[in-house]
């Protein structure tokens, strides 16, 4: 290091003592012709302004030399220490979703009772009638009966144990407990977006955290159960259990929307990945991108045909609904529009931008390809699952419903694990305005709603037709699958309508979150620009890229600009040419040009 510094010092010393060079700009060079020669002596005539700081300057140079030597590459060694610190504080522990202490415990307990015990018990025929929640509550209640005070407290907390005593058939604890879980976790999630709350609930010693969480959880839980009770007391005529069911439905719908969004994002990400691999392959891949819509349409038509065969088979075992094929036809129509419309837009695009649009279309078509089976699956679940308040189902339907219930449970759990894994790897469990704690609590709330409804659907004694009067409840309790399909279709319609815009590609494609480390970011910029170059099949303005890169890397535009400059130094296959209008040019192309010449 010292040698380097000495070398630099020597050269500056030499420069300062050398006489004014003939080749240096003459005074006229300042751009003002009539300026007097004496008024603009050259830099060497006297100490330059910055030379006042000579000592500091050299120290600065030495320091930066020391920094750069630690780096693998000399040119990348500016200001990395700051980002390293950020990186260190951001680590998320493994299995984070089940490490929220007491809150995780409560959620898992709820999950165990409402999903595992019920299903296992019904498989082995333990429960034929009645309610698992009711039975669990009875088990807890029994030892308390000897202590009147405890029993009073228990009866105060546990929903409708008094009603239960009067009317054993109105076993609605499951509904109220589930709704209580949804509301409690939802509230905790919203509160946890504030730093003070997360500090209170999740920081400090284990004992403090345990009591803080336990206290907060039960405070909210009891509060909500009592509020629900009060609601029924004040408005006895409205709908006895409606309000609890509404909250349950909100939670379940939130989950299903999240699931739909996660899958749509996954489909877009896969589309982006496939495109990224294709875009560098050259002409053949381009031809493939052009004809892909045809393949996707054929795939969709074949799958629909197969689905109608499946519907035909179902009628044999007396499962059918007149609206079923109509819904499928509507979805099919929408999908065909989503395939054809962007393709027409591509055909109508100016030839200079067409290539880029063809690749945008490729991502859209692949998304259609991945999403269509999911839409069909949702519709199937909707029609086959038992409805919450239905009771008279035939045995064969009951079995099939049970199978689909398990299938849905498996899908839910697989999707949950996928979504969590992806959220962990890409954003450290951050989602929109939610931080890692509130995101997980939000998932708890949504799943509580989902499992609550599943529980109501699958327990042997169906919910009495308490909800019959309210159609909106029916739609949300049983029809979330239908709702999520509608939302996904609406989102895709939005994408297709936005397809014509210039920046569509940037916002539609989903890329892996780029790590905070500058080295990785520089590699990412290099990859991204290469892809963009292939997509446009020619040079483009670097200024157009700053915003896109800033968005993708979650940094500000200035940082993106700095990183692009570093990339330029680090990689020799990409050049930035021009002044004011600076273009990204591939060096390979330039070589080809000179070869031809």
């Amino acid at each position: 290091m010292t040698n380097m510094a000495k070398g630099k010092r020597k050269s500056t010393a030499k420069k300062a003592s050398s006489p004014p060079d003939e080749s240096e700009p003459v005074p006229e060079a300042a751009g003002v012709e009539n300026e007097q020669e004496t008024s603009t002596p050259t830099d060497q005539d006297y100490e330059p302004e910055w030379a006042m700081y000579d000592a500091e300057l050299e120290r600065h140079v030495e320091e930066s030399d020391a920094d750069t030597e630690q780096e693998l590459s000399q040119d990348l060694g500016v200001q990395t220490s700051v980002t390293e610190k950020e990186l260190a504080s951001d680590k998320v522990p493994r299995f984070f979703p089940v490490r929220l202490g007491f809150l995780s415990f409560m959620f898992l307990a709820f999950f165990t009772i409402s999903v595992l015990i019920l299903n296992i018990a019904s498989i082995i025929g333990l429960v034929t009638n009645g309610d698992i929640f009711h039975q669990v509550l009875t088990i807890i209640q029994t030892p308390m009966e000897r202590v009147p005070v405890l029993l009073q407290i228990f009866n105060f907390i546990v929903p409708f144990s008094n009603i239960q005593a009067l009317n054993p058939n109105a076993d609605v604890q499951a509904l109220y407990i589930s709704a209580g879980f949804v509301l409690t976790f939802m509230t905790l999630s919203l509160l946890s977006t504030k730093h003070r709350v997360t500090h209170f609930l999740f920081e400090g010693s284990a004992i403090k955290r345990f009591f803080a969480q336990l206290g907060t959880f039960f405070l909210l839980f009891i509060l909500y159960i009592q509020a629900l009770k009060l609601y029924v007391d004040f408005f006895p005529d409205t709908n006895d259990y409606g309000i609890a069911a509404d909250f349950l439905a909100i939670g379940a719908t939130a989950w299903i929307l999240f699931q739909g969004y996660a899958l749509l994002t996954a489909a877009r990400r896969n589309g982006t990945r496939v495109e990224g691999a294709l875009v560098k392959q050259g002409r053949l891949a381009y031809a493939f991108a052009i004809i892909l819509p045809v393949f996707v349409i054929v795939f969709i038509l074949l799958l629909t045909w197969g689905y109608f065969v499946f519907l035909g088979l179902l009628t044999l075992i007396h499962i059918s609904a007149p609206s079923w094929p109509v819904v499928i036809e509507v979805i099919l129509g929408a999908m065909l529009v989503f395939c054809l419309l962007p393709t027409f837009i591509v055909a109508a695009t100016r030839s200079s931008r067409r290539r880029q649009k063809v690749y945008d279309n490729l991502v859209i078509q692949l998304t259609n390809f991945f999403m269509f089976p999911y839409l069909l699956f949702n519709i199937t679940i909707y029609y086959i699952l038992p409805k919450t308040q239905s009771s008279g189902t035939s045995t064969s339907t009951g079995l099939l419903s049970q199978i689909f219930l398990y299938a849905d449970l498996v899908v839910t759990i697989v999707m949950l694990l996928m979504a969590l894994r992806s959220a962990s790897a890409r954003t450290g469990y951050r989602f929109g305005p939610l931080n890692k704690h509130s995101f997980i609590l939000f998932i708890y709330a949504s799943l509580a709603g989902q499992f609550g409804i599943r529980y109501l659907q699958s327990r042997p004694s169906p919910l009495p037709s308490i909800l019959g009067s309210s159609t909106s409840n029916n739609i949300f309790l049983d029809g979330q699958y239908w709702v999520v399909d509608a939302v996904v279709v609406a989102l895709m319609l939005f994408y297709v309508l936005a397809f014509g815009s210039r920046k569509f590609g940037l916002y539609f494609r989903v890329r892996d979150q780029v790590s905070r480390q500058d080295h990785q970011r520089i590699d990412f910029i290099h990859e991204y620009l290469l892809e963009e170059y292939a997509r446009r099949n020619g040079m483009f303005l670097v200024a157009e890229m700053y915003d896109a890169l800033a968005t993708l890397m979650k940094v500000d535009t200035f940082k993106a600009m700095q990183l692009v400059e570093k990339m330029r130094v680090a990689y020799s296959d990409i050049r930035i040419e021009g002044v004011k209008k600076r273009y990204i040019v591939l060096v390979e192309d330039k070589k080809k040009d000179t070869k031809e010449a």
């Binding site: 630099k8 050269s11 700009p25 005074p27 830099d43 300057l57 600065h60 130094v569 031809e596």
Partner: protein, 394 residues
Amino acid sequence: MFDQSKEMLFDICKAWQKSDVIKGVGAYYDNFEELSADRIQRDIDEYKKAITDLNRRASELKKEIKKDKEKQATLEEVKQNLTSRKSELEAKKKELVTLPKQVKSLKAEFDTEMKALLKGLDDLAKLRGQDAKLRDESDGIAQIEFVLLQFVGVNKLVEIDEIIKEAKLEIKVTSDSGEKAVKEFRKMLVLFMESAGTRLLGYGLGESLLSKKVMFFQKAATMLNRSSNIAKMEKFDFAYHDKLFSIAQGCLVIGLGTQLLETFEYSRAAQYFLKAREILKVVSGDHPHASLAAEQAAVARASASDAFNVLYMLNSYVNWKMVSENASGELKSIASISIRNIEEWITKQYGFPPDDKINDILGSMLWPKPLLPDEAKFPARRGFKADISVLFED
């Protein structure tokens, strides 16, 4: 831009295709030996005249040298020219003697070269209107250069003027400077090169990629330089052609300067820009492309001050960076705002130079002379130890 001039080369091709070139060539072919002998004789006369001129100049210089020592170099140059012209004259004389023996091979060579030229003209004519092909370095531009070289090559073998005369070829074209009707080969060549040069210049001005832009300007300047040289010899619109060349040269210098900005040589780039401005300034108001020249001169001026601007900005950057490391409070925040703004501005427009280059770049800065304001002028040390009250006298 250059709407009329750039199309002239196709009109020239068309004129050649339309005229009775076969007849012209046939006539030349029949009288090949005689015409060639005439041509060589004419060349010999030209050489002799040149040698006489050079001799006269040499003797003049020998007298001048006594007064002005610096003329020595010019004399050396003249002497060198003289020897080469003399040897060339000898070669021509030899050629005249050996001509009858070589007629057959010369005729064959003429035949193939002429065929290649006519085919080249045909191929070039087909490219009319195909701008994408024309601006391709290995396609249209190469074809234009080929035809040009072929013209010159054939003219070295035979007198194209004779062929033009026999073929009754008259080239009527419209240049940006007005309508032209020429019957002489050299004037035709001037028009052809003017056309090619303006075409290349237009491509350069419309190109976005800097390296290609410079390539176009380089070729345009070469082309227009040659055309203006021949125009001078032929006294054929020399002023117009010379200024056209100046525009191309000016544009080329601006392009080269801009390339220097890319490599962070701001000071040298500013020198280039100022030179470009000087070159472009000579194109006066009555030239058809005066407005282009004025525009490019403004570009040169703006680029020159831009280049210097970056230099000063970098100087600010280095100093603010130093301040931000040592200072605190308000000054530190001012420093960090300045650092960011400057870096952003330079990066967006020119790309930011690597840290280790900045000191070298700043070495070429210029400053106005420092000045101490009257209000800040204080008397030099005075007074003496025994009585400091002197210092408080106003």
